[in-house]
């Protein structure tokens, strides 16, 4: 179909789909008067049974931990897909133009900019670590903290030294870290099966709510997911950086 035919057909069916959606949404309870029962039950037992104060992370890592296992492996498989799709072929050579990649200068990349970027790195590592570790207590968790942790080495690239970033986060090591994180999370589930009889059942002491080492397996799961997510995003970014900065088509 040519473009106009496509837009006409889409126009008609979009209006019809919008009407169907609105008719369906009309049956929803009014915004704000939540009649659900699942949420209230969770709010009730979350702190008492698992000593976790951030119930979203409690749900994420313990009550519905099986969803998170699927979610982690969606991230893991997608990053494997990115590596598979952007892998180099025989006709492409990775020849970093030593001078270009080393000191590529952004518009206005001055020494001040580089100092600021390098200054950011420790702050990001500490913030990411905090969010990962305090997943079960305050908002945040393995995933959010993991991305911030991955942003640390990325700041090295912002500071203008891409090749130095590859030293800080070498590809095979990061990839191994990512898969160990994913494996770690699955092993927590297996640990539940071995020690507590049921897959993903909590087998660690609960500790007192509000303390760092509380809520049983949640801190451990948070660390595993944080490791995997930071590894995954680093691998993903490095793949795209390789394509943009380094790989040149031979032909």
């Amino acid at each position: 179909m040519n473009r106009t035919g496509r837009l006409i057909m889409f126009g008609i069916s979009a209006v019809a789909l919008a009407a169907v959606l609105v008719k369906g949404f009309a049956g929803l309870p009014h915004f704000g008067d939540y009649t659900g029962v699942y949420g209230t039950v969770i709010n009730g037992i979350g702190v008492t049974e698992r000593h976790a104060t951030d119930l979203v992370t409690a749900l994420n890592f313990d009550l519905r931990a099986f969803d998170t296992l699927g979610e982690e492996f969606i991230l893991f498989a997608s990053i494997l897909g990115v590596v598979l799709i952007l892998r180099e072929l025989r006709e492409e050579r990775e020849h970093p133009h030593q001078e270009e990649a080393e000191e590529h200068s952004f518009a206005g990349a001055s020494a001040a900019w580089r100092a600021l970027a390098l200054g950011l790195i420790p702050a990001m590592i500490v913030l990411g670590g905090y969010i990962v570790l305090h997943g079960a207590l305050t908002p945040g968790g393995g995933f959010q903290g993991g991305v911030i942790l991955a942003a640390g080495p990325l700041a090295v690239f912002l500071a203008g030294r891409y090749l130095r970033m590859k030293v800080v986060a070498p590809q095979p090591l990061v990839e191994a870290g990512e898969s160990i994180g994913a494996l770690g999370y699955a092993l927590i589930g297996l640990g539940g099966l071995i020690f507590a009889g049921v897959f993903f059942k909590n087998f660690l002491p609960l500790g007192t709510p509000g303390h760092l080492l509380s809520a049983g397996q949640m801190p451990l799961a948070s660390i595993a997911v944080g490791l995997e997510v930071s590894g995954a995003f680093l691998v993903g970014w490095t793949e795209f950086l390789d394509q943009a900065m380094v790989i040149k088509e031979q032909g």
Binding site: F10, L21, V41, D67, G70, I85, L193, K201
Partner: protein, 608 residues
């Protein structure tokens, strides 16, 4: 120590391990680990299947049992149909891994890890009892499938096929997310049994119907039903052969399985009053798909695309079977899915042999060159006959159950649709067998000229010696075809599936054994026997298929004498139909919106 969660967890952990050591592990280790894990999963699922036949298993993850009838955790609700489907997925993945033992440049471990994650996703999809978990595995399957489709990045086709596949299925997944949001708002539950129990008392209002329409259009996108099927032919034509085996063999069928599971656990209660209208809607979509797929199948010259359209046609038949909303039809679909999956998997593997030996999959290029692969040719012809449902084969038993259920369900014309689509799809495969492997008649001049380019492998990655086909690439399809023939003949198999289907069909018992546990009281299942007219339909389909193949190969003089007045509108119609498959992702999503609006609108109008 319950092994219920292991068939899902073990492949994931093996995949993570494979990637962790992929830079240092030799090729043979990857192959051995992947195939070993596959066999282990098949064994575990066999045990689960045996246990679930004895009594269905409700396994609550994390030990979170439902407390005062509110489900907190996620459950694996395993009944014989679910466990059987999961075992079937594992068998196909293992056979695909064994088939690609040395044939495949494994991209150092990535391919094997993705295949293991693919198996885990499909096994989880079949066993889970939680509707959100279903979508998570739907996305996991999707993510792995997009990456595997674009495996041969040095050619143009795989990139376009993967993009169309990814965008179409993602939009479908978002529709399911919206549907789940609506169901959660109404029932406050995510477990299928609890949603069903909450909806049972009430009449289906607009919200439930729109939620059903959105969830069904999402799964119909995965099951490649008209008008959201366009992505399938592109993805199948370019994916590497072991991956095609899984796409056509079982991944597409999981869409139909999900619709059946959701209807009988969630929507059977509220929609009981309007079952008749829902039956009409589903059968309308199914018949259109069966006929559209069959006609397109016969008009292809790219053999993998031909098999892809044959899968679409069979998806239409399966949807008609589910649409009949009866236990017998469900049993027929279950048997038919097993027979079709094995046959289609074997046919794709034989395509892999052709592609590996000659570097092209275009029917006209290969005309007569397949003679040296005599055994593969015989297998291909057997596959074609199996698709045409010759009597006393698994596919035949499935079709006879379907025909019986169609007559019961006051749809007497439905068996005719089944016969036509089997005739066309079987005929097309037999035409390829005759033309390519035996060199009969003239090369098939049909099909679009633009199709030749993607059929030829532009870039020879492996560069390994192409004059000898590794033996495994012939043995595995032979084993699959033998299984496709024998499963129907095993005495206890088909009646067992019928009993399992009637248990699957029983809504109240499902809610009972999932939420409250304990042994369900199932109604006794009446098993049918094959009637005379089943043989009639099967014979008709087979003879028709052979006639069509003969007409295509030898019928050039006969075609010239046909009155031009009859032939021109037919050719124009097929041409117009083919024009719609434009490969442009904007078209596909426009058709998707039209399909969603059509299903939503018709359900709203008919079911309230």
């Amino acid at each position: 120590m319950h092994i219920t969660a292991l068939p899902f967890a073990v492949p994931l952990m093996a995949a993570a391990l494979l990637v962790a050591v992929r830079h240092w592990s030799p090729r043979l280790v990857n192959d051995a680990v992947a195939a070993g894990v596959g066999v282990a999963v098949v064994a575990m699922l066999g045990i689960l299947l045996a246990r679930s036949i004895h009594a269905p298993i409700a396994y609550w993850m994390g030990g979170w049992r439902p407390s005062h009838s509110v489900t907190i955790g996620i459950s694996f609700s395993i009944d014989p149909i679910g466990a059987g489907m999961a075992a079937f997925c594992a068998v196909l993945v293992t056979s695909a891994l064994v088939y690609s033992w040395r044939y495949f440049e494994g991209a150092d471990g990535l391919f094997h890890a993705l295949m293991l994650i693919f198996m885990a996703a499909m096994v989880g999809f079949c066993l889970t009892g939680d509707v959100f978990n279903l979508v998570v595995f739907f996305e996991l399957m999707g993510a792995v499938a997009y990456a595997l489709t674009a495996y041969k990045i040095e050619e143009r086709g795989p990139i376009q096929g993967a993009i169309n596949f990814a965008i179409s299925n993602s939009v479908g997944a978002y529709a399911i997310f919206v549907g789940i949001g609506l169901l959660y708002a109404r029932t406050g539950a995510l477990n299928m049994a609890q949603i069903g129990a909450a909806l049972d008392g009430h009449h289906a209002d607009a919200l439930v119907i729109v939620a059903m329409a959105l969830i069904f259009i999402g799964f119909l996108t995965k099951a490649a039903v008209i008008p959201v099927h366009f992505w399938l032919a592109d993805a199948h034509a370019v994916a590497p052969t072991p991956v095609c085996v899984l796409f056509s063999g079982v991944m597409v069928e999981l869409g139909i399985y999900a619709i059946a599971r959701l209807y009988w656990t969630v929507f059977a209660g509220p929609l009981a009053a309007h079952a008749e209208e829902l039956r009409a809607i589903l059968i309308a979509f199914g018949t259109a798909t069966a006929l559209w797929g069959a006609v397109m199948c016969f008009a292809q010259r790219h053999i993998k695309r031909l098999l892809a359209f044959s899968t679409i046609s069979h998806m239409g038949m399966f949807l008609c079977g589910i649409g009949l909303l009866s236990a017998h039809a469900l049993a027929g679909v279950a048997v038919y899915v097993v027979g079709h999956g094995l046959t289609k998997g074997a046919l794709f593997m034989l395509c892999g042999v052709l592609l590996h030996r000659f570097g092209t999959i275009d029917e006209q290029d290969l005309h007569g060159r397949g003679r040296i692969l005599r055994f593969a040719g015989v297998l291909f012809a057997i596959g074609g006959l199996l698709l045409a449902a010759i009597p006393a084969v698994t596919v035949f038993f499935g079709k006879s159950l379907l025909d019986g259920a169609a007559l019961e369900g006051r749809y007497p014309w439905l068996p005719a649709v089944f016969v036509i689509s089997s005739m066309f799809t079987g005929g097309a495969v037999l035409r390829v067998a005759g033309g390519v492997f035996a060199g009969w008649g003239r090369p098939w001049a049909g099909g679009a000229a633009e199709q030749v380019a993607p059929a030829r492998e532009e870039y020879d990655e492996e560069g390994i010696s192409r004059d000898r086909t590794p033996p495994l690439m012939i043995i595995v399809p032979a084993v699959l075809l033998a299984a496709a023939i024998l499963i129907g003949l095993i005495p206890g198999a088909v009646p067992g599936i019928e009993r399992a289907a009637s248990h699957f069909h029983d809504h109240a018992a499902y809610v009972g054994w999932v939420l409250r546990g304990g042994r369900p009281g199932f109604a006794p299942a009446a098993t049918t026997h094959v009637e005379a007219y089943d043989y009639l339909y099967a014979a008709g389909a087979t003879i028709g298929a052979l006639a069509l193949a003969g007409l295509a190969l030898f019928g050039r003089p006969l075609r010239r004498r046909l009155p031009a007045m009859l032939l021109r509108p037919l050719v124009a119609a097929v041409g117009g139909l083919r024009e719609l498959h434009s490969g442009h992702i904007g078209d596909y999503i426009a058709w998707w919106t039209a399909g969603a609006a059509l299903l939503g609108g018709s359900s709203l109008m008919l079911l309230t």
